[in-house]
């Protein structure tokens, strides 16, 4: 079995009396899609926030690519190749689609303490940015301000930004949220194509998408990982059926 790319070891995060992440140990191996599912309030976003560095766990460790990153700030984790997309669409609304991706490219092109040269004419940024937009099917929208892109397009833009740094692992926080059926299907196809190149941790409500894409699934309920396994194992797990899938699977 391959060495995991990302792993957590007995991660705990409390908010007051509430244990939002309760001794969670999960891992993501190179080249796999590991899906994290669970009902609302199960602590998925809290867990992701700790992986990205937005929240600091109370105890436990997070390792990425052989390093302990538990105490690294967000930007440093991204530099190591741990990119994310946001649950609520998070793009730079005042900037064009191209500028959004160009900034993402810039983030990985050394430091940005360059004050005089015009970055908006810098082909070393714009070239890869155009390619990134084309990869997610947004080439025609390059000069459109992000604020007026459709919801689905903004989600695509998010993915393009996350991919710009050529990350080793993508954290996708509900990439299909708010998408229509057709858009969702296109996104599923896109992620499946991507799978050969990078590992993903996928948080998603859309069970169809999860069972189509995931190699492994972990079920989170009240902050605890109650089950982990292949889609088939998860479907068959009685605890999961009772606690979460309920009638949906029955």
């Amino acid at each position: 079995m391959a060495e995991p790319l990302l792993s957590t070891d007995r991660l705990i995060k409390r908010f007051g009396g509430l244990v939002a992440t309760d001794t969670v140990s999960i891992d993501v191996r190179p080249g796999e899609i590991h899906a994290l599912i669970g009902p609302n309030g199960a602590g998925k976003t809290t867990l992701v926030s700790q992986l990205t560095g937005y929240l600091r766990p109370d105890s436990g460790t997070i390792r990425f690519a052989g390093r302990d990153i538990t105490r690294l700030p967000m930007h440093a984790r991204v530099r190591l190749g741990l990119a994310r997309s946001f649950q609520i669409t998070s793009v730079l609304r005042e900037f064009t689609a191209l500028d959004n991706v160009a900034l993402a490219v810039q983030a990985h092109a050394g430091h940005s303490f360059r004050f005089l040269a015009d970055a908006r004419r810098d082909e070393s940024l714009l070239g890869p940015a155009r390619q990134g937009l084309a990869d997610v099917g947004l080439a025609a929208r390059a000069d459109t301000p992000a604020a007026i892109l459709s919801h689905g397009e903004q989600r695509q833009l998010e993915i393009a930004m996350a991919l710009a740094g050529d990350p080793r692992l993508l954290l996708l926080d509900e990439p299909m949220a708010g998408m229509g059926a057709e858009e969702s299907q296109r996104m599923i196809g896109f992620l499946r194509d991507l799978k050969s190149k990078r590992a993903m941790l996928l948080i998603e409500h859309d069970m169809d998408a999860v069972f189509q894409l995931a190699d492994r699934i972990t079920v989170l309920v009240y902050g605890r990982a109650i089950a982990s396994g292949t889609p088939a194992e998860i479907r068959a797990d009685p605890d999961v059926r009772q606690a979460y899938l309920g009638e949906e699977a029955a």
């Binding site: 967000m74 930007h75 991204v78 990119a83 609304r93 940005s112 303490f113 360059r114 710009a164």
Partner: protein, 325 residues
């Protein structure tokens, strides 16, 4: 070059060109019509415009609402004044020291305040400005409350700052240099990081930018240019006092930047001119209504600020159409 030609075809380009030409020949005009008073107002406009451009770097482009920017009038001015007071009159020493002191103060304040957000940031920048203000008040050796008359900086053989017109043109040249820097900054890699962080800080961090470091650098650069305006202010009146860094002046600077148009290249210049025009025209206008009322011009100006805040966010710059990028 083609950019420049294209820019000159827009309303904004024409207005700006006319304005710059007018500013360039102002000393000749004031001399021809014997209006020395106007030249001194013109000089103050240029100095304030430099300060406003420097505030715009962080406030307009970076969204950092610093309510203590007038403190850099003080750091720049006092560095010059204190050196002059001790007999070091050479501008070649005074000016770099003053700019370095201002940048250093900005670095310290930025390092402490940029960790906070929202109202906390507004108030901590104000408080640090007040801190230096009271230090100025307490400096008995340098005139305390009353301030200090100083000799102007000397640049032997190069320029005589006592000559009003020469000093004016020097201020204009420095304003142009500041604007040039700002125009490059706005679309540079660094500038885009600062602007991106204004738009969505968390996003920028998630892209891998250590936002704090970039903001701190921007704050420091802004302080250095602010210090430049302080140097000029001290030389303009040959005088320094704590009043240079009173919090009302910090408020005025915010007003100017918003009035002119935040995050636009020439907005701070428009804003400064409009601010001084308002002040100089409200007084005679009110006096026309009734003798003596001119003194109370702020009773009209105050509510105007309320209206600007409520209804005119784009500032003067937006009257000339959408700006690029």
């Amino acid at each position: 070059m083609t950019d420049l030609v294209a820019a000159l075809r827009t309303t904004r380009g024409i207005v700006t060109l006319v304005l710059l030409v007018l500013l360039a020949v102002l000393p000749l005009l004031t001399q021809a019509f014997d209006q020395r008073y106007l030249l001194s107002i013109g000089t103050r406009v240029l100095i304030w415009a430099i300060a406003a451009v420097s505030l715009n770097l962080i406030l307009g482009y970076g969204g950092m609402v610093s309510f203590g920017h007038a403190v850099f009038f003080g750091t720049g001015g006092y560095a010059v004044g204190i050196l002059a007071h001790h007999g070091i009159a050479s501008g070649w020493i005074q000016w770099p020291v003053a700019i370095a002191a201002s940048a250093l103060w900005a670095l310290v304040v930025g390092a402490l305040s940029l960790r906070t957000r929202g109202l906390y940031f507004i108030m901590i920048t104000l408080a640090f400005a007040q801190l230096l203000y009271y230090v100025g008040v307490g400096l008995e050796a340098y005139g305390a409350d009353d301030g200090l008359n100083i000799g102007r900086s000397r640049f032997a053989g190069l320029i005589d700052l006592r000559d009003k017109a020469s000093f004016y043109w020097l201020c204009l040249a420095l304003l142009c240099a500041t604007l040039w820097f700002c125009s490059r900054f706005a679309n540079s890699r660094f500038g885009l990081v600062i602007r991106g962080a204004k738009s969505n800080e968390l996003r920028m961090a998630a892209l891998g930018f250590p936002v704090f470091r970039y903001r701190l650098a921007a704050f420091t650069i802004s302080g250095a240019f602010g210090g430049l305006s302080g140097i000029l202010m001290a030389n303009e009146g040959a005088y320094i006092s704590p009043a240079m860094m009173s919090w009302v002046k910090s408020g005025d600077l915010i007003v100017i930047v918003v009035l002119g148009g935040m995050g636009t290249l020439f907005g701070p210049l428009y804003g400064t001119i409009a601010f001084f025009l308002l002040e100089e025209s409200l007084k005679p206008l009110l006096d026309l209504l009734r003798k003596g009322w001119g003194e109370y011009w702020q009773i009209v100006f105050g509510p105007m600020l309320v209206l600007i805040a409520l209804y005119a966010r784009g500032g003067i710059d937006s009257l000339m159409g959408r700006s690029r990028g």
